[in-house]
């Protein structure tokens, strides 16, 4: 069944997507039709306004699903499964031209040469300003200024067209013509010719979009793909040759050599000076370091005359234009159906970036959810929610306290000379209470969800069991209010997670520690709410019960407890929410099972599908708990707010 869904996910998701759009349109039209029947002046006074209406629920749910399908690119994948692979080839070509593009003012505002020139000149000005505080003599200062102005001249030497080498010029022209040739090839229908057998085989065996997480099949598989992939290979070679070109004209090299010797000479002279304090020596060293760095960068030869690259720029723009037009419908498809990100080609893989990456596709998420729901697969060795056959003895051991065997008279048997142990009554009782007997097996729930659930339920149970009576007593007796208030009010405001490291160290990172942490959370909330309920009990109710012959205990159980129920139940509802939050965070902190653990592992592996799966599970469980509590509240305290 799942395999079938997986194989035909394209048509299924596509149909669903269209159905969602149709549903929204229908529900909106239906809602408007209903609205038109309402009297316009009764719109705000209409009590049915607050009821909502199921068609608006459908609209809302459909809208969320639609957004999910859209921004996760599940819809794009359904309607054009090869789109990702084709975009991968397109980006291969784009990124192949990036070394050239980064030099030109295409994506950036300035020519790279311009930016470098501005930066080096600013550095030189800074260095010249620094001269004043370096304690040089006037002649030395003049010499240093001479070096700085020489360096400025050298930069001019690099930018001046008259000094540019003829050979460099030829190489620029060569690059330009190669790019133009590639543009022409790209426009050619036949380029790059029929795919080779190896290419075809690779295309036939190619994985589908999303079969391996966020990665996209790398090899080209469509005519468009073949064309862009082939062009990318050529473009890569062109780029490689381009970045080798440096400004190395004779005039410029001569200036650089001259500068090097001058700086060295000045440096030696400056170092020879004695009797300077340490700070000054350090500052002078920095000055020379600065000079040398600027010179080294200028020597790299990345600054060319301003118009030297014009031809290449024109050719590259033409190539980009041709590339866009060769994409045809693909670019419109990308703009329309793949919002919030793009597909990037790396050196040996393509991947989704943006919303397509962190928002997993609904179909993939469902598949992952069903896969890890399978108890035989599960996650990290545990199912999500399943059952295990456990011997009945384990349950006896859990429920019956072990110390019972100590009350049986007599001693435990010892082994005799032959090494035989004869059991007596005491040892038999001991075997029973520790669950050490052959017993039938009973199914018990198990798994990550169950572990989280049982921790919350256990923490809540003990919190309610101890918190409610204490809260009631604190509401009724001055002694217990005064005695317990400082303890509870001191530990309650501390965020539960701040307790976690301590509690987990004392009680262990498995169930005990977490249950105790949740107990602390639930206990404080239950004490406060039960106390509020008890203090809020109407005095005349207590008087009435008293004069009807109720004893103190009876008043507590029959009047104050039921009277506090609304507050107590509200407290439980709040405690459930806080406990969930604390538990998931505590499980992320430490442990080997639980929903928080699953999410934490998934986070470390950037497995967005699992992350979203756990988020959805947590959301559904929270909703379930709250609905349950609402039902309980409706059933047990229908008088709330009416007394």
């Amino acid at each position: 069944m799942l395999d079938f869904l997986f194989t035909y996910r394209g048509p299924i998701v596509g149909t669903l997507f269209l159905a969602l759009i149709a549903t929204i349109v229908w529900a909106v039209l239906y809602g408007r039709k209903l609205m038109r029947t309402e009297k316009s002046d009764a719109v705000f006074g209409n009590p049915e306004r607050a009821l909502g209406g199921w068609h608006w629920v459908i609209t809302g749910v459909s809208f969320i699903l639609l957004l999910w399908f859209y921004f996760s690119w599940d819809a794009a994948r359904a309607f054009r499964p090869v789109a990702a692979n084709e975009f991968c080839q397109v980006d291969k070509l784009s990124s192949a031209g990036n070394p050239i593009r980064s030099v030109l003012p295409l994506e950036k505002s300035f020519l790279k040469g311009t930016s470098l020139l501005v930066r080096e000149n600013r550095q030189l000005s800074d260095l010249a300003d620094d001269l004043e505080r370096l304690g040089f003599s006037d002649t030395e200062k003049a010499e240093a200024k001479e070096i700085v102005s020489l360096m400025r001249l050298a930069i001019v030497g690099a930018t001046s067209p008259q000094y540019l080498d003829a050979s460099t010029q030829t190489r620029f022209v060569d690059i330009e013509s190669r790019i133009t040739a590639l543009t022409a090839k790209l426009a050619n229908e036949g380029y790059p010719g029929a795919p080779t057998a190896a290419q075809e085989e690779a295309a036939a065996n190619i994985a589908r979009w999303g079969d391996s997480g966020n990665e996209i099949p790398y090899a080209p598989a469509t005519p468009l793909g073949y064309k862009f992939a082939a062009a990318a290979v050529e473009m890569k070679a062109i780029s490689k040759d381009f970045i080798k070109i440096k400004n190395t004209n004779e005039h410029f090299l001569g200036q650089v050599d001259e500068l090097k010797s001058q700086i060295a000479a000045f440096d030696t002279k400056a170092k020879a000076a004695t009797g300077l304090d340490e700070l000054l020596v350090e500052n002078r060293a920095d000055f020379f370091k600065g000079l040398t760095h600027v010179l080294r960068r200028v020597d790299d030869g990345n600054i060319f005359p301003p118009d030297a690259l014009n031809g290449i720029q024109t050719a590259l723009v033409a190539l980009d234009g041709e590339q866009k037009s060769q994409q045809g419908g693909l670019k419109y498809f990308g703009a329309l159906m793949m919002p919030g990100g793009e597909i990037r080609a790396g050196s040996n893989s393509c991947s989704e970036q943006g919303s397509g990456r962190w928002l997993p596709k609904p179909s993939d998420t469902l598949r992952t959810f069903v896969r890890i729901s399978n108890p035989e697969i599960g996650y990290k060795g545990n199912p999500l929610l399943w059952y295990k056959m456990k011997p009945f003895g384990e349950m006896v051991d859990l429920v019956v306290p072990d110390f019972i065997s100590s009350f049986v008279p007599g001693d435990f048997p010892r082994h005799d000379e032959n090494g035989v142990v004869t059991p007596n009554l005491k040892s038999k009782v001991h075997d029973f209470v520790t669950g050490n007997f052959v017993s039938f097996k009973v199914p018990m729930p198990a798994g990550h969800v169950w572990d989280s659930l049982i921790r919350v339920v256990a923490g809540l149970f003990f919190g309610i069991l101890l918190g409610v009576p204490l809260g009631l007593f604190m509401g009724l007796s001055r002694f217990s209010k005064g005695f317990f208030d400082p303890i509870i009010e001191l530990y309650r405001p501390v965020p539960p997670l701040a307790w976690a490291p301590l509690i987990l160290t004392i009680f262990g990172i498995q169930d005990d520690g977490k249950i105790f942490l949740l107990f602390m959370v639930a206990f404080a909330i239950m004490v406060v709410s039960a106390r509020t309920g008890a203090t809020g009990t109407n005095l005349s109710k207590i008087h009435a019960a008293h004069s009807l012959g109720a004893s103190k205990g009876q008043i507590l159980r029959k009047v104050i407890l039921p009277n506090s129920l609304p507050e107590i139940l509200t407290g439980i509802r709040i405690a459930i929410g806080v406990c969930w939050g604390t538990l998931v965070a505590a499980e992320m902190l430490a442990g080997t099972t639980g929903i928080g653990f699953v999410e934490n592992v998934a986070r470390k592996q950037s497995d967005y599908e699992i992350i979203w799966t756990t988020i959805i599970i947590l959301g559904l469980l929270g909703l379930l708990f709250d609905l349950m509590m609402r039902w309980v509240i409706d059933k047990t305290i229908p008088w709330r707010g009416k007394g």
Binding site: S547, G549, I637, W639
Partner: protein, 264 residues
């Protein structure tokens, strides 16, 4: 018999900064078994304090109250209470509220169910046994409160402004009900009220109390309650005698209020 006797009853409250307030001072009276007493007075004259002492919720600072031969030292089943706001247990049904006292004494038998049904019938709520109390109107809730304390067969019923929160029509019906119960059960009843008409109608005897210190200012013996058992209460209220007494007491309370206002 079980007469209610107050001897030199005093109640002094400490207020902040060392001051003291004489809520009650040297109250002496005897209420014979089966008498109907209404207590009237301006606010702050110690009516409720007196009632709370008799109920046993407060201990007096001087003197004592006796019911029969026993001194009152705490709340007891022999004195039933009816409050202004029913003070019903809204988590229980009408029947469960009424049988509350019986259950506190231990167990419910078939006999007790029968008594609950009888009382439901007397207060005019038969058929409402299984209804939750919060669904009923204020008048119905007061009927339940009456039945709840009467089922215990108390020697004395104490009512603290029992009809104060009801609308005028319901109030008149309830006044008739109180008279009917008084006559049929022969219980001693003490009613505290703000309404002069109600005090006249529901009082075989009437204490007008005065404040600072709280004391019994004037005592009346009235025929209207006896008349009310047989006649329509509205006719009684229109008799010249009733009107005359009403005006006299109203003037008296009015003067007391004036005096209080003048003091402050």
């Amino acid at each position: 018999m079980s007469d209610l006797v107050a001897k030199d009853l005093s109640m002094v409250f400490d207020v902040g900064s060392g001051g003291q307030v004489h809520a009650l001072k040297n109250i002496n009276f005897t209420l014979k078994n089966g008498e109907l007493l209404s207590v009237l007075g301006p606010s702050g004259c110690g009516k409720t304090t007196l009632l709370n002492i008799i109920a046993g919720f407060n201990r007096p600072t001087g003197g004592a109250v006796y019911l029969g031969d026993e001194e009152i030292e705490g709340p007891g089943v022999n004195r039933g209470m009816v409050f202004q706001q029913g003070a019903l247990f809204e988590w229980l049904t009408v029947s469960e509220n009424i049988s509350f006292g019986l259950r506190m004494k231990g167990g419910t038998s078939k006999g007790s169910q029968k008594r609950v049904d009888e009382w439901l019938d007397i207060v005019g709520l038969s058929g409402f046994g299984n209804v939750p109390t919060y669904q009923l109107s204020g008048g119905m809730q007061q009927r339940i409160a009456l039945a709840r304390c009467l089922i215990n067969d108390p020697d004395l019923i104490l009512m603290d402004e029992p009809l104060g929160a009801l609308d005028a029509l319901t109030r008149e019906k309830m006044q008739a009900l109180v008279l009917k119960i008084w006559k049929e059960t022969g219980t001693t009843i003490m009613i505290i009220t703000h309404s002069v008409e109600e005090a006249l109608l529901l009082g075989e005897r009437l204490f007008v109390m005065a404040p600072r210190p709280g004391r019994i200012h004037k005592e009346y013996n009235l025929p209207f309650a006896e008349m009310g058992v047989t006649q329509d209460t509205r006719d009684i209220k229109n008799t010249p005698e009733f009107i005359q007494t009403r005006e006299e007491i109203l003037t008296m309370i009015w003067d007391m209020e004036e005096e209080i206002m003048g003091q402050t």
